[in-house]
């Protein structure tokens, strides 16, 4: 098992005929992701790499059983597209789109809550369950199947850590990018809960950064609910206050946004702290993972 997606997860691609959508669809399919349908309004009846394209999500849902969707729809249309997926009752939406207006993100996340579905993202690289399935843009060569779960705000940081783990022979159950914020459909804490409940995952690597309070909530969850070991790394320790460090959510504002306070909370919760990807490997090896 892995979390959220596995070999048999039936996937719909929204925005499948666009440049990025078509390109990433091919890579995901080659990797083994079970892609059953695509949707682009006005392109119904076409196919991309043998995958049938529909005009409407409801049409795709009528023809196929679908467990999850990934959206490559550009920001101006992203809210409408997300609502379409959620209205159709698809329980898991990976929202890769960057630059969606904040109000739209707030609405999407609220609508997901009301319909009982989950959104991963926005602005997420997606997730990969190595060797089985991927929904997103993770460079697959940097990952291999195993028993360490990884959750990260940043895509690039999860590639970095995945690569070093893989080189050291440590495989991963799932590697989940939650996005750069400042609005998150799924948080560190919720991903930790999935890893805690996943029998295959033996340990979890939590990658966080300055800004917001997600890591504090993760720390509370670790303290009260996690039995599996957590190794945590927070980047941006040297970020000056008030500066935006690449991600929209990565701004130190107030005490709780600082790396220091996040490190302290996670440490007190019992997480093992690392400052480099090599240290993460060392800690996991000492645990015998």
């Amino acid at each position: 098992m892995a979390i959220f997606i596995d070999r048999d997860t039936r996937i719909l691609i929204q925005g499948i005929t666009g440049n990025v959508g078509a390109f990433q669809t091919r890579i995901m399919k080659e990797y083994g992701s079970n892609i059953v349908a695509g949707v682009t309004p006005g392109k119904g009846g076409q196919n991309v790499d043998g995958i049938p394209v529909y005009n409407l999500v409801t049409e795709a849902v009528r023809e196929h059983a679908i467990d999850a969707a990934i959206s490559f729809v550009p920001a101006p249309f992203a809210k409408n597209a997300a609502y379409e997926i959620l209205s159709a009752g698809i329980p898991f939406l990976v929202l890769t789109t960057e630059g969606i207006p904040e109000n739209d993100n707030i609405d999407i996340v609220r609508f997901a809550e009301l319909t009982g579905n989950r959104v991963l993202g926005p602005d997420t690289p997606g997730l990969i369950s190595p060797g089985r399935s991927k929904m997103g843009v993770h460079p697959q060569l940097m990952f291999k199947e195993g028993s360490v779960g990884v959750v990260s705000k940043s895509g690039s940081l999860s590639y970095e850590v995945g690569r070093v783990l893989t080189n050291a022979g440590i495989g991963q159950s799932s590697v989940v990018g939650i996005g750069g914020g400042p609005v998150w459909g799924t948080t560190h804490k919720e991903v930790l809960r999935e890893f805690e409940n996943d029998p295959e995952t033996k340990a979890v690597v939590l990658l966080g950064e300055v800004g917001g309070k997600l890591e504090h909530h993760a720390a509370e969850f670790i303290k009260s609910h996690m039995t599996k070991p957590v190794v945590a790394m927070i980047v941006g320790r040297s970020a000056p206050e008030g500066a935006q460090m690449g991600h929209a959510g990565a701004i130190v504002e107030g005490e709780e946004g600082t790396a220091t306070s996040k490190l302290k909370a996670l440490k007190e919760a019992g997480a093992h702290m690392a400052t480099t990807s090599h240290e993460i490997v060392k800690i996991l090896q000492q645990m015998g993972v």
């Binding site: 101006p76 690039s156 590639y159 970020a239 460090m245």
Partner: protein, 377 residues
């Protein structure tokens, strides 16, 4: 985009929120036709203007001229002051705090209110959190009448037409005009009723596609009014729209992801080096962005060595290398460059860099060490 006070007040006023009568003062001579007493307020996009002495009351023309001259000569947080707002001074009976924003904890629009107006709200939140009230609104239901009544009760004021209109006005600016923050501090009870004595609005840059005309109008209203001393790399970064933060060290840093960029910064510091900047190229066309990032980071004369931290996921390493190559062919670069490169098309990228005598490495920690050692020379 952060609006200047006069711009925020124009939007508040258009949305049914009373603001004081005012006029622009762009030179001391403009005060000749102003009514007194008046409040002179510097139009700069920073908080704490009162404390900085650039919001002051003038009782008559002579005093106003002296104060205006003083304010024009002042700089606050690097901003020059060249426009004042002269507002009618109002008799304040009571003042409150009210603000609308999206709460990132609950993913809900939220009103924050307090009976303490004109305060530093962050300080109040720390020192007397019980004085702050929060009202979350379901974004898909919208602002309801009972929400407004709840807020009025909390503030201890009647939920009359004027108050309802102010709260609805804030809500409309948030939801219909894509403001991520609408703050009125203070909202005053004056002899003529409720008035927004100050106004702060931040518009969502991501919403530009649906309100392009208004954004353009606001930007042109800020031209010549927001004047801040900027360094050469900051000016370039703004021009190229690349994420850049100037720091005070000598090791220039370029990364192709926000997370690895921050990690690289931390590694350099842990190794005893001092970063000259944070720079993330983002998801733009790789070659062009890489060349622009080189230009930005190396425009800082303090940079003694350059550390380029790349992990090719979506970004292709051969394209990034082409950008670095293009920069090095056009410019003479005397400082040592350490490159970490791996991932998509890294082999081609490494080959291109080798032609400049750059031996790219695959390990980030090792590369950071190299850059710190270069910097120590």
């Amino acid at each position: 985009m952060k609006l200047l006070e006069f711009q925020a007040k124009k939007i508040l006023s258009e949305n049914g929120i009373p603001v004081p009568a005012s006029r622009f003062i762009e030179s001391v001579a403009d005060l000749d036709s102003t009514d007194f007493p008046t409040v002179l307020k510097a139009q700069i996009p920073v908080g704490g203007r009162g404390k900085a002495g650039v919001v002051r009351v003038a009782m008559d023309k002579n005093e106003a001229k002296k104060i205006a001259a003083d304010i024009f000569a002042t700089k606050v947080k690097g901003y020059e002051i060249n426009t004042l707002l002269a507002e009618e001074a109002m008799n304040i009976r009571d003042e409150f705090y009210i603000c609308g924003l999206n709460d990132k904890e609950s993913n809900r629009p939220m009103f924050i209110t307090s009976r303490e107006g004109g305060v530093d709200i962050e300080l109040l939140a720390k020192e007397a959190p019980e004085k702050i009230m929060r009202k979350k609104i379901d974004p898909l239901v919208g602002l309801m009448e009972f929400d407004i009544r709840d807020m009025a009760t909390g503030l201890g004021i009647p939920c009359d037409k004027a108050f309802v209109s102010i709260v609805r006005g804030i809500w409309n600016v948030m939801r219909r005009q894509d403001a991520t923050l609408v703050e009125i501090n203070p909202l005053a009870i004056t002899d003529t009723g409720l008035v927004a004595l100050d106004g702060k609005i931040i518009l969502d840059d991501n919403a530009g596609f649906r309100c392009n005309d208004r954004m353009t109008e606001i930007r042109s209203g800020q031209e010549g009014r927001i004047v801040k001393e900027k360094s050469a790399p900051e000016i370039l970064a703004e021009k190229y729209n690349i994420s850049y933060v100037l720091l005070d060290g000598d090791i220039g840093i370029i990364a192709d992801g926000a997370g690895t960029g921050m990690l690289t910064l931390d590694l350099v510091k842990d190794l005893g080096g001092i970063p000259a900047n944070f720079c993330e190229m983002g998801g733009k066309a790789a070659a062009e962005a890489a060349e622009q990032a080189m230009e930005i980071v190396l425009a800082n004369p303090n940079v003694n060595s350059l550390l380029i931290s790349l992990i090719g996921g979506l970004t292709r390493m051969d394209q990034v290398a082409e950008g670095i190559d293009a920069y090095l062919q056009k410019n003479s670069c005397q400082i040592p460059i350490a490159v970490r490169m791996c991932g998509t098309k890294a082999e081609e990228g490494v080959r291109i860099l080798a032609s400049h005598g750059i031996a790219a490495k695959a390990d980030l920690s090792e590369t950071a060490k190299m850059a710190v050692n270069y910097g120590g020379k």
